[in-house]
Symmetry: C2
Subunit: 573 residues, 2 copies
């Protein structure tokens, strides 16, 4: 397989750099954007003033490192393997554990679809817990913690920007449950990253085929593509054929943490018949995915039998796939959800691989009408109790959130989460602030995401323009990611996150200087910015004009403004 349908050359005048940590194998990838000098005419002479390089957070992993030759049939370099090994608390298993995993492995008909390299799974040694939360609580600063501290700070230190983020601070936040570093020991290819309200707001992207469309190659391309544009984590929501094989390809080639919703696959295993779902099938699915390297699982363990009645009262019922499956299961069996009753066992599986649990909001509102209703808040209270349980097992926790919420109800939503879930990182889908714009829900929800991010949500789950309508294409993934990078960054600026304004100020200065190329290169999507500019400047595509076609040459406020500065200067003489 190859990924030749995506163009990874949209960041001109940029360089992949690595910032080194306390040991040689901590090398944090970042992107450095070079700038052109500011040109001024002084006393009739052309004078150049250099502009600093700008370092930006980089989620693209080795895909933008020209030194690394990527072969997706082999997978990415396993950068965390030595850290995991030297802790000496894990072991390589002789064979994969899950029944299903073995069955798929032994099915010759799948050979052509299979990822070519077989890695044996790694697991905590008997009696060991190996999660980042466990280490943090023991007072241990892991290489992962140091890595994310460096990553969050970019070059703040060099710039003299005061920051509170140290490896020790990272450790404290993880120990307190206010942040997580998702990182399955079976996904050593992923670069460490941190999710928590004290850190920059992260964005998750969703990919995955449904029964109707999308092949493996397309899904890998989407995964790489979403990392390239700025996705911090990636959820594989596949529900169609070959989920197991597709996931292997994605995990082995994904530089960011991968999440899944295991109930989807469990349901596929019983041919979509909710009645036939059992704890045993689900448990085997968890182990299967733990051993493939999934970094966090969405588990709708907060959906209880008693919630079913509340769903009936809603305008749009239950719009969470996992939530609706579990609610139906409870009603059909007239039993409490097996995810809830077996939650301790789930945690005991997860903490052997350091898989985080993302407590699903099965009762998230599917319309602004249903926002902040009893069903949603009751579930949130259950999630709070489950958080305590997970933490008792040193399992790292995220809390998933809405959905559709009008602006006036967002604050109450976040505050409720902070309160009942003890500040476990909130991870929200949008929220969409109105229901009336299918085709533009990346915008309806970027509004909500920026607001909820400002209020302390740690990670926002992107929405593409195709939400509610269709599976996103590559172009939609890019639109969705950029809309959410905007929301996340707007929230970082609003939170006063250390150094967040550096890129804004640099781009604004480039704009004021008419350094068009720098303006493009510093932007989230240089290719599009340049293309839009050139659409109206076909006559002089490379001209560094001191105006744009919006105002034309006579009405450029910025140019006039600079003339004023000159006039003021003169009048002082």
């Amino acid at each position: 397989m190859k990924i030749d349908n995506i163009d990874l050359s949209s960041y001109p005048n940029s360089e992949k750099i690595y910032v080194k940590g306390s040991r040689p194998d901590i090398k944090v990838g970042m992107r450095k954007i070079h700038q052109y000098p500011t040109v001024k005419i002084e006393n009739g002479k052309r004078v150049e003033y250099p502009n600093e390089d700008i370092t930006v957070y980089d989620t693209s992993g080795p895909y933008t490192d020209p030194e690394i030759i990527i072969d997706i049939n082999k997978g990415l370099p396993r950068i965390k393997e030595s850290w995991i090994e030297e802790r000496n608390d894990t072991e390589i298993l002789p064979d994969i554990t899950s029944m299903y995993g073995r069955m798929r492995r032994d099915d010759k008909s799948l050979d052509s679809l299979r990822f070519p390299v077989a890695h044996k799974p790694r697991k905590a040694k008997e009696g060991k817990v190996i999660t980042q939360m466990h280490y943090a609580r023991k007072g241990i600063i892991t290489p992962e913690m140091e890595y994310v501290a460096i990553r969050e700070n970019l070059d703040n230190e060099r710039r003299g920007i005061k920051t509170y983020i140290t490896p020790e601070f990272v450790r404290e936040e993880i120990a307190a449950g206010r942040a997580i570093i998702p990182g399955n020991i079976n996904h050593p290819e992923a670069e460490p990253m941190i999710i928590g309200k004290a850190f920059s707001v992260k964005l998750n992207t969703n990919i995955g085929n449904s029964a109707l469309s999308s092949g493996i190659e397309e899904e890998i391309a989407k995964a790489v593509w979403s990392c390239y544009w700025g996705g911090d984590t990636l959820m594989d929501l596949s529900t169609g054929d070959h989920i197991h094989e597709t996931r292997e390809w994605i995990v082995r080639n994904c530089p960011v943490p991968v999440g899944t919703v295991p109930i989807y696959q469990a349901l596929e295993k019983v041919d979509g018949d909710v009645r036939k779902l059992t704890w045993e099938i689900y448990r085997d699915t968890l182990i299967e995915q733990c051993e493939q390297g999934v970094d966090y699982f969405t588990i709708h363990a907060g959906v209880l039998r008693e919630h079913a009645e509340l769903v009936e009262k809603r305008l749009t019922g239950c719009v969470s796939r996992g939530g609706s499956i579990m609610t139906q299961w409870c009603v059909l069996h007239n039993e409490e959800s097996f995810l809830y009753t077996h939650f301790d066992e789930i945690c005991e599986i997860l903490n052997k691989y350091d898989v985080g649990v993302s407590l699903g909001d099965g009762m998230r509102p599917g319309s602004t009408h249903d926002a902040n209703d009893r069903a949603q808040f009751l579930e949130l209270e259950v999630l709070g109790r489950l958080t305590e349980k997970a933490w008792a097992h040193d399992v790292q926790v995220l809390i998933e959130g809405p959905g559709h919420v009008p602006i006036n109800k967002i604050k109450a939503n976040v505050e409720k989460e902070m309160d009942v879930c003890h500040e476990a990182p909130f991870y929200t889908l949008g929220p969409l602030t109105t229901d009336i714009a299918p085709g533009y829900d990346h915008i309806t929800s970027a509004i909500g995401a920026a607001i909820i991010g400002t209020l302390g949500t740690a990670m926002i789950c992107y929405v593409t323009p195709k939400e509610h309508l269709s599976l996103p294409t590559l172009a939609d993934v890019r639109e969705g990611v950029i809309a959410y990078k905007i929301a996340a960054h707007a929230a970082d600026l609003a939170k006063g996150f250390p150094g967040a304004n550096v890129r804004d100020d640099a781009l604004s200065k480039a704009r004021y200087d008419f350094r068009w190329k720098d303006q493009f290169n510093l932007s989230l999507d240089p290719e599009k910015a340049k293309r839009y500019y050139l659409e109206s400047r076909r006559d002089a595509p490379d001209a560094d004009d001191r105006f744009c076609t919006m105002c034309g040459p006579n009405f450029c406020a910025m140019r006039i403004s600079q003339n004023i500065a000159d006039e003021c200067e003169k009048s002082k003489l």
Copy 2:
């Protein structure tokens, strides 16, 4: 001329309706969207439950009325003319007043560009003031006030939704200066609309050619197009050739109020040489445009000589075209701005035609770095004093606002405006909440617009994806308008504006019912929603499937959710 490059058929299953007022000539156009019935299978039988029509605010004027034959060479019906005439406080002038207007009229070389019908200008009779504010303060409820009250309420009364908006309430808000109905007596084609924080949030669109591009036909198409998609007012920011003639075409064919920035044209009249600008040229320009029918003028009268120094200290100087022109004028002449010194005279001109003044924010920040700085707030204080002056002349006032503002500074910005400008309606450009996304500034700014709208901003000025890069195309206008309809509507929902949720709830119900066509038809952009849906359903384009390709048939939460409701129902039997 004709407008044949725009498609005005994107609202299927919709009907133009008119709600009548207290007199037969008050007929308020709205769009009624019909819905299909909800189909259920009950006891093996197909049962249909009808769904109500949904009435939505309609800015498209006669362009969506199949009964009205539009000839843009003749202009739109002059629906307000009889109201104006019967007040008997205006007169038709024998000739146009402005020197420039006469000169253009007498220039035979312009005949081919000229709008074919010449209307004589109307003006207040000697000693009369004829603004809506004047009437409101006298306790008179005009047909315009009744019209907007009906327009804001849609069919709330029929639905039993409690509303506070009565014609008397409208009068009170206008008398207090908290709302305005822009409506030049020379633009009787425009449908009355109201801008104020007690009313639905409005959106302004900008069109206009620059020296580099765009012809008259293209600008008319953009004007109609922006009204069609939902623009509430329209600013013609042309700076290129034939501003006078272009404007005439636009005003005569525009069903919404038209605004301009007269200093642009004044500067064109002196060949772009700021030094040569004079009060006399500006004054003649005001009169020229008052008599053409411009409904509100952006006037940067708050930019004072003392502000020039503050501009120097900024990262991005002065980014307001009008503001930079006036600052430069002050510096070059070492004199106070003639817009400030002649402000009373300006008001005495405006109140003879009922042209509103939109006090320009020449010091609006051009980067998040410069937000809420001294230059901006000092100017805002001047605008507060000018507001008092304008109100003393019964001139209706808007206050223009930023610009680029990070989320954490938006609230302070609105509160400052409310305070120093005595709650005169705030009219903001965005604001953009980050500077790093050229090509996506409709999104960076829709975030800010939704937030500032929620906080009480009365009108938001759209930003297209081409902002900072190029003049918008028709496609960009549509994207910009929809992004801002989303922001405005999200703000209305958040404000709890009476009836705002009706459309959301209807669309959400249609979604839950799998009434795909209704879901499209109720959306802001039915054509795009449908197109996106069909992209992945080419096999069965008209099927009202009970799933979409996002989740596929087995994983549709909403369908499962409905099954749950059925199961719950059964278990009760």
